[in-house]
Symmetry: C2
Subunit: 398 residues, 2 copies
């Protein structure tokens, strides 16, 4: 597939491996979809996989999560198909291990699908030695971990310079840094993206970043205006809503692609959107992005009901319960019919209930009747009042 | 080295990687000596390394300990020298991963020195999925983990059957099981070592075990009489005292070799003995064991003083202090001159003080004056009274 001059890159992010791993219903979700992503990479015969951080949900993944991850990587990333990407930069600067090479160039390992990943806020380096879980995947040669920052007050990013035929791609990686801190570092012009002297304008420049894109407070996000204008393409991790189609930046010439998480870690609006990963093809200074819908993500239907607009007596608890229950039944029906639920997964159902003038039901008790039919029986209902806040804030955990 | 019919096996045990890793003086000891062992294996061009358990000190090793271990294994175990051992048994039964082969037969990995290891009590399988740290080394193909028991009340051991030229070796592995429990299983004749039907008597049979050998109470150890008589050689892990020369069993025809730990995890008599690993060579039904003294272990001098037999006034604290201090000086001198302390390591000094009729000094305060000169300044003195117990019990942690 592809030709000798076209990069084929599978782009994904926020796999959150190990998310809810003890949950009897949803415990395997993160692994199932990560495996689907690896299968796509294999089937599409991509040159490599590019991940945008939060590969692991917990900074200290359980032994079982580490094991399952390593097992999947060993299953899918090894093989005899040659890797046709040549790396031109100093690999010992790009990658974190003492072995100092990209994994597929180590003659002792037979890698077919290299993975390149930065860290996110969930799996950042911590503790003695400043090691991230990704370092364990790097030292065992399963992943090429890049974008590790030694000094977050003065960040110099040396790109991975790659060539395939006559196409040249540079990848700048910046693992997550606390947003307020990075904001300041940007303001002080202490974020430097190093550019090759040679053929400076012939590179297709990709920036992989894992930060807030949406402002939660004035200085805890990264604004597009802060990014260098020589960039061509930004892979934005951390934001879990899938916005797979690259959007041209409002301020620069580059495109931004936000793959979103491969597993919903919050029952929020953004997470209920259809999830995709992307096949990014680059030839010279042109790119094409083909969205790949994920088939194994758990169906997730989110709707809203405003009780005061319904024809129901606020004092008739039973009638209110039945109203909400029939709404939930509809949503389950919708989840099971409209989505391709190939694995027969119990859907996530989230109903926001505006209940001004009404009494809230006990959500756990309400959920009882849907046990065995939905993936989140205890969290179906989310009560809110329009008066107190214009929009209900979901708990998000990106 | 060696010939086409002679197995060459480096045997070691109880590496306790990560032991005291936060200690500013001794923090690297376990890794330094483990690296020395790997170097011996490389220099001696052994066919493989056989480990007897407790590779890790903590059941949940820190990320740094896991990382350093993986880094060492990747550095030493890979390479182009061919492995000339053929495995005849069903590898999917012998080894724990779904990949179902010994590491050097996986075509995607270029292994030069395979390691075979059972688990000990320090690094046994635990938690969800019953995974041990060794499983992480197995799934990344760094170690061949064997001797994992699914049912400790009914233990069936399928040996790894190996052939090199016309020599046949079978290795029975039994990872640590709580002693009392295993004692009972043995008593109930529920420990079965499976023997090949074919050429049943042509095998050199090795048993690798990690249990108490010394009785601490009537049923919390394994007695030699309990072991099968068809065995030729037992590698006994867990006991940290180095008894590298194989001893013929008091009850059977087999030999027992107790390599001892490669790092002292207790300031006890047994741990103060010179430490070795062993080169085990097997040809037909004959074996030869060559002890390999370890050069990097921290010098450890242990002596005893009985204050009542010394010419010192029990009420003259200063004189007692000086007496003990001069004794410690002698021991330091001895440690630095008698042992080959190639790395210039600060020695471990342990002085047992029988103090009947005397007052004990504060050991921490006493140790102050030796800070910078010994490896264990706070634990030099161990007070005991002959009356209360015939021999002082060291705290051991095997
Ligand atoms: Mn994140
Ligand atoms: Mn995330
Ligand atoms: Mn032990
Ligand atoms: Mn031990």
């Amino acid at each position: 597939m592809g030709d000798d001059n076209t990069f084929r890159i599978l782009v994904a992010t926020d796999n959150h491996l190990g998310y809810l791993e003890k949950d009897p219903i949803r415990g395997n979700d993160s692994f199932i979809t990560f495996e689907e992503i690896l299968q796509h990479a294999k089937n599409l015969e991509v040159d490599f996989i590019l991940l945008g951080g939060d590969m692991f949900h917990d900074n200290k993944p359980t032994r079982q999560t580490l094991y399952r991850t390593m097992e999947l990587l060993r299953t899918y990333c090894f093989g005899n198909r040659p890797v046709n990407i040549e790396i031109l930069s100093d690999q010992s600067i790009n990658f974190a291990t003492k072995f100092g090479t990209v994994n597929y160039e180590d003659p002792n390992f037979n890698i077919e699908i290299p993975i390149f990943s930065i860290h996110g806020n969930h799996d950042d380096p911590a503790g003695d030695g400043g090691l991230a879980s990704l370092d364990l995947l790097a030292v065992t040669n399963l992943v090429n971990y890049f974008g590790k920052n030694d000094n977050i007050d003065d960040v110099t990013v040396y790109p991975i310079l790659m060539r395939k035929g006559d196409t040249k791609v540079s990848i700048y990686g910046m693992g997550n840094i606390r947003d307020e801190r990075l904001y300041r570092t940007f303001q002080q012009k202490k974020v430097k993206l190093m550019r090759p002297i040679e053929a400076r304008d012939e590179w297709f420049n990709i920036f992989v970043i894992h930060q807030n894109r949406v402002a939660h407070s004035p200085k805890n996000y990264i604004h597009e205006v802060m990014l260098d204008n020589f960039l061509n393409f930004v892979v934005w991790g951390h934001e879990h809503e899938c916005m797979i189609t690259p959007q041209i930046s409002s301020v620069g010439k580059y495109y931004i692609m936000q793959p979103g998480s491969s597993v919903a870690t919050a029952l929020s609006e953004g997470e209920s959107k259809k999830k995709h990963v992307g096949l990014l093809e680059i030839r010279g200074d042109k790119f094409r992005l083909t969205p790949i819908p994920l088939k194994t993500t758990r169906p997730f239907i989110m709707e809203e009901i405003i009780l005061s607009t319904e024809d129901v007596d606020p004092n008739d608890t039973e009638a209110v319960t039945e109203l909400l229950a029939s709404k939930v039944e509809e949503m389950i029906e919708k989840a099971n019919s409209e989505t391709e639920n190939t694995l027969g997964m119990k859907p996530l159902i989230r109903l926001k209930v505006e209940y001004t003038g009404f009494t809230a039901l006990n959500p756990q008790r309400f959920g009882q009747r849907f046990v065995g039919r939905v993936g989140n029986p205890n969290e179906i209902l989310l009560y809110y009042k329009k008066r107190s806040a214009p929009k209900p804030k979901d708990k998000t955990d990106r």
